[in-house]
Amino acid sequence: MSANQKRSLLREAKQVMDASFVGGGEVASKVREHVRRAYAKIANGQLGDASPELVEAYELLRSGVRYDNVVDIFKALHALDLGLFIHAFATADDELRAIGWAIWDERNKFWGALYDAMNAAREFLSLVRTGVRPDVAAREVVTTEDLEGLDEILQAYAGTQK
């Protein structure tokens, strides 16, 4: 049994939520409520019911953006990003989960961009499955400096599959 099989993303994510869901204002508070509800549903295996909670959280964030509440929006964005990452991980296949763990372990680097990184990993796997070389595929999907370091993760993963 590998170390990752012993780990539980839900358990680790809960710890991160408890530690980081502080501060901000009204938008962050409401977004967190939905993310917590989504988390509870994912933990209960109700993945389909978790999606509307996250969509609602996104809508709150989207409509809550003003130009005088940046800290609040930052906090809300991070909460939603975490919720979406947990959902993406829960719905991922084994390959994507393996990369997901590597992203999670580097979460301080991808803070606020976890879901973006997970999605890039999904696109990477899709490209590689069609025969694109891993190094080319990694360059193709890592298109923003927020994802710096992800190409190494993706190529390292590809190296383990040879």
Binding site: V55, Y58, L61, V65
Partner: protein, 120 residues
């Protein structure tokens, strides 16, 4: 508009003269462009005020637009158009999502917000 421009009028004249005297100096040109953008911002604020729509959000939004002009992300015309439509733009620049079936779209939306937040 004149009142709004008053605080930067001398600075503007000085920058213009300096630029005109030594057009090869890129630093002065940058400064002249920046001041031009300040004028456009002042005009925008005046426009919003005259329309009864002056508020902190819109002024900051206008500022962000002119920063985008300075960075070459959009043209001044595009910025003015966006600002004239005012508050609706706040919702326009983050697309709606209805489910998580298109994760790429969701990721792009969050990225858009992430990229723009430090600039607001």
């Amino acid at each position: 508009v004149d009142k709004l421009l008053e605080p930067i009028k001398d600075e503007l004249r000085e920058a213009y003269n300096s630029w005109w005297a030594g057009k090869d100096n890129e630093g002065d040109l940058d400064r002249a462009v920046e001041l031009l953008c300040k004028i456009m911002l002042a005009k925008t604020v005046a426009y919003l005020a005259s329309e009864g729509g002056e508020n902190a959000s819109l002024v900051l939004f206008a500022t962000k637009m002119w920063r985008d002009v300075l960075d070459g992300r959009i043209t001044a015309d595009q910025a003015l158009r966006k600002v004239r439509f005012g508050e609706s733009m706040e919702l326009e620049w983050l697309p709606r999502i209805y489910d998580l079936s298109e994760p790429g779209e969701v990721a792009r939306s969050l990225r858009l917000l992430r990229i723009n937040l430090p600039r607001i």
